[in-house]
């Protein structure tokens, strides 16, 4: 079934290139999206068997990210049909510079969109690092024609930057693959670089090579994920692509790159070196949030504003994993929430763009009057994305902040909250002035809002609202499992080596209780106890390793991993 999930959209994509009738091609797009979503939904009930000898397998993390991708694609397919129906064919005038341009053929657009889905599915299902690399590079190639849908020189510039920066970045991740193979080669000549095998043999891996591999993976996939200062392609690509594509890039593609980093972090954690990765992720995460905050304040282009907001949220994900413990749980939950909210905002931004014919925030006024439904959604989406209650992002951001405070990362928590506040104020100014006021008479040509143009955004908006009020048990369990693989070891014992074992245990307990409190329906006692044991064990192992020093490098690695492995990673 995993193969069907990948090959289905790929076949549909190939077919879309040759279908000439518009209605047939659009029908195919929606049908393929629905079939993909249906199969993904079924995978929750009945986990599909591994394929290709374990290279393709949907574990908890993979299934979670696949579900986000599939959901957003379904929404984007419906939205895209209405979008394509309104995009005029032939040559037309560019509203920014009054030059003439035409769109890419719809066949190419639909075909690449479906291939994009196939490659993203392959990313989420790949357990082999080599295959994962191939899939991530393939997503770049499948999506670059989508960015160049409007054939004018601004989108061409964005496409070129995207292609070149991401390809070079991902070439570095390939180097990471080779270094990982060397690290694994020390464990035995025939350990394949499949995540599960590496985790099993993590104790015998060569630590310096493994760390070097992590660095290259972080830079490579971090470029694709949009972590500052590697994010330079992101605002251009997101602002120039059609809105349905922007939603997919931001909500699904960035997560796929994040998954690549999570997989190597999983191996690193199993080798007892989780803290090394977590520290780096924390630094990159906070840097991304800071850079995003700088550019979000008084941003003059509302699609670029949403793009920088994506940089911010990728930073939050990285920082969450970096803090560790319950913050990892928060980060995984945040990945789900951010994707839904951001896709919704891009869909609404597309509607605004279609009505006002400008991306400049200064020229858009009175959206509430011109597009009543989109205007309300625009405000609701703004509240959701900035983490206001009762939306899902509030819950996940709160979980991360509380975990940071509980673990003694007070400075991190303060910086985190301060950046969120700056971003809230920065975005509020832009969004509210767009929603209110009197629309400029000359430029506005109101268009009726159809079910297809606002429907997907409404559904996503209700979903992210629902995620704030009640997280379904199945989702919570999947998020917990996904967070557990990244190394529940809380980062706090690092740099605070003085903490005793009892204290660490207490802190672990507290952290777990917070997770229970933050999420409705507390976890069962057994889970709490196990999580507690795992947290304290990891922390002990890390502290022990700190004490061990360089001389006992080999021993300390063994110790750390045994403690981790004993918990059944």
């Amino acid at each position: 079934m995993i193969l069907a999930l990948i090959l289905g959209p790929a076949a549909a994509g190939a077919l879309a290139f040759v279908l000439r009738a518009d209605w047939l091609r659009r029908g195919l797009l929606v049908a393929a999206a629905m079939a993909h979503a249906g199969m993904t939904g079924y995978a929750w009930v009945h986990r599909p068997a591994p394929a290709l000898g374990g290279w393709l397998e949907l574990d908890a993390t993979g299934l979670l990210f696949l579900s986000i991708t599939s959901l957003l694609f379904l929404a984007a397919a419906f939205y895209g049909v209405s979008y394509l129906a309104h995009e005029s064919h032939g040559v037309r005038k560019d509203f920014e510079e009054n030059l003439f341009f035409s769109n890419a053929p719809e066949q190419v657009f639909t075909g690449c969109l479906l291939l994009f889905l196939a490659t993203m599915t392959l990313v989420t299902a790949s357990q082999h690092f080599g295959l994962l690399w191939v899939a991530v590079e393939a997503t770049t190639l499948a999506s670059s024609p989508l960015i160049y849908f409007h054939r004018h020189h601004r989108s061409l510039e964005a496409t070129w930057k995207y292609l070149l920066i991401c390809s070079v970045g991902i070439a570095l991740a390939l180097l990471g693959n080779f270094l990982l193979a060397v690290a694994a080669g020390q464990a035995g000549r025939h350990v394949p670089i499949v995540a599960a095998d590496l985790v099993r043999h993590a104790t015998q891996m060569n630590v310096p090579w493994l760390k070097a591999a992590f660095l290259f993976f972080l830079v490579g996939y971090g470029t694709k994920m949009g972590l500052a200062p590697l994010h330079t392609w992101l605002p251009d690509a997101h602002s120039e692509a059609p809105s349905a594509v922007s939603a997919l890039l931001s909500g699904a593609l960035l997560n796929c790159a994040f998954l690549g980093i999570l997989r190597i972090q999983q191996v690193l954690a199993a080798a007892g070196q989780g803290v090394f990765g977590q520290e780096l992720l924390l630094v990159f995460g906070l840097a991304s949030m800071a850079v995003a905050a700088v550019f979000l304040v008084s941003q003059a282009d509302y699609k670029r504003m949403l793009a920088y907001s994506s940089v911010e949220h990728m930073g939050i994900l990285a920082a969450g994993i970096g803090i560790g413990g319950t913050a990892s749980f928060g980060a995984m939950l945040h990945a789900v929430n951010h994707s839904i909210a951001k896709a919704m905002l891009f869909f609404v931004a597309g509607n605004i763009l279609a009505a006002y014919k400008t991306k400049a925030t200064g020229e858009v006024r009175g959206v509430l009057g011109v597009l009543p439904v989109s205007g309300v959604l625009w405000l609701a989406g703004f509240l959701a994305i900035t983490g206001s209650p009762p939306f899902g992002l509030f819950l996940s951001e709160l979980t991360i902040i509380r975990a940071a405070v509980e673990q003694g990362h007070v400075a991190t928590a303060v910086a985190f909250v301060a950046l969120l506040a700056v971003i809230f104020v920065g975005m509020a100014g832009v969004v509210i002035s767009m929603a209110q006021g009197t629309p400029p008479e000359t430029t506005v040509r109101p268009r009726r809002e159809t079910v297809l143009s606002v429907g997907p955004a409404i559904v996503l908006g209700l979903l992210v609202l629902g995620m704030g009020l009640y997280v379904p048990p199945a989702v919570r369990e999947a998020v917990q499992k996904a967070a557990a693989t990244t190394g529940l070891g809380d980062n706090s014992s690092y740099g605070h080596g003085r903490h005793g074992d009892a204290e660490t245990r207490g802190r672990g307990e507290a952290a777990t209780t917070i997770a229970g409190a933050a999420v409705p329906h507390t976890t069962t006692t057994t889970t709490t106890a196990r999580a507690e044991a795992r947290t304290s064990n990891m922390a002990t192992a890390i502290m022990w390793s700190r004490a061990g020093g360089r001389k006992h490098g080999y021993e300390r690695r063994d110790h750390g991993t045994q403690a981790t492995a004993a918990e059944g990673f």
């Binding site: 080599g130 070129w160 070439a171 020390q186």
Partner: protein, 214 residues
């Protein structure tokens, strides 16, 4: 046997220096093709492991792709763009060569500090691979023509490939083929984009693409 390997490795270094010092684009494409062919041949003549059918297949596909298909794609893009030379690079050719000469000992030094997992592999291979990657990166940041940037990307890819050859044990065939397919698709898409750029801007200078910024 070792003499041959070292000779091939030195040839790779020379192709890199030529890439740094040449202003004409067509010879640059040819020299990069040569580099790809040499790197494809290396595993066959290295004699570290007995030659298997698998190795021959990978080498053949790799040589065919980097020696023939990619140069052909790039030549086509070049004809469409109607440019022959890189004029006014951001860093002059003499300076580029000097930087290259300075980077070479750096690469040798880093390479000498990395412990090789397999002692039978020539100790020159990793430094050469690193040097190739450095040259690729330098080409991307110091040249204006979009085509030269693609050449830089390919040089980086060659360097990574060579490091993989020196360090890693054999990758599974499916993964090797996937990687080569991706490289092909990347150059294919970049070639199309190049063609579009030349149509849209009347040239392929990337410094004219500076509209999108904050």
């Amino acid at each position: 046997m070792n003499v041959w390997i070292d000779a091939l490795i030195v040839l790779v270094v020379l192709t890199n220096l030529k890439l740094l010092g040449s202003s004409r684009l067509v010879p640059c494409i040819r020299i990069l093709a040569l580099q790809g062919v040499v790197l494809g041949l290396l595993p066959l003549v290295a004699g570290v492991e007995p030659i298997t059918v698998r190795m021959v297949i990978v080498a053949a596909v790799s040589i065919g792709l980097k020696g023939a298909v990619l140069p052909w794609l790039l030549m086509r893009a070049l004809r469409g763009a109607d440019v022959r030379r890189e004029i006014e690079p951001l860093v002059s050719y003499g300076m580029s060569l000097l930087i290259g000469m300075a980077a070479l000992p750096g690469a040798l030094w880093i390479g000498s500090r990395l412990p090789l997992p397999d002692p039978r592999v020539s100790s020159l291979l990793v430094p050469t691979a690193l040097f190739t990657m450095m040259v690729g990166m330098f080409l991307i940041v110091s040249r204006k023509k979009a085509l030269t940037q693609v050449l830089g990307y390919l040089a980086i890819e060659n360097g990574v490939y060579a490091i993989g050859m020196a360090l890693a044990q054999e990758q599974p065939l499916l993964v090797e083929m996937g990687i080569l397919l991706d490289v092909f698709a990347a150059v294919f898409v970049m070639g199309i984009t190049l063609f579009r750029i030349s149509r849209e801007f009347d040239n392929i200078d990337t410094d004219e693409m500076a509209l999108l910024k904050d």
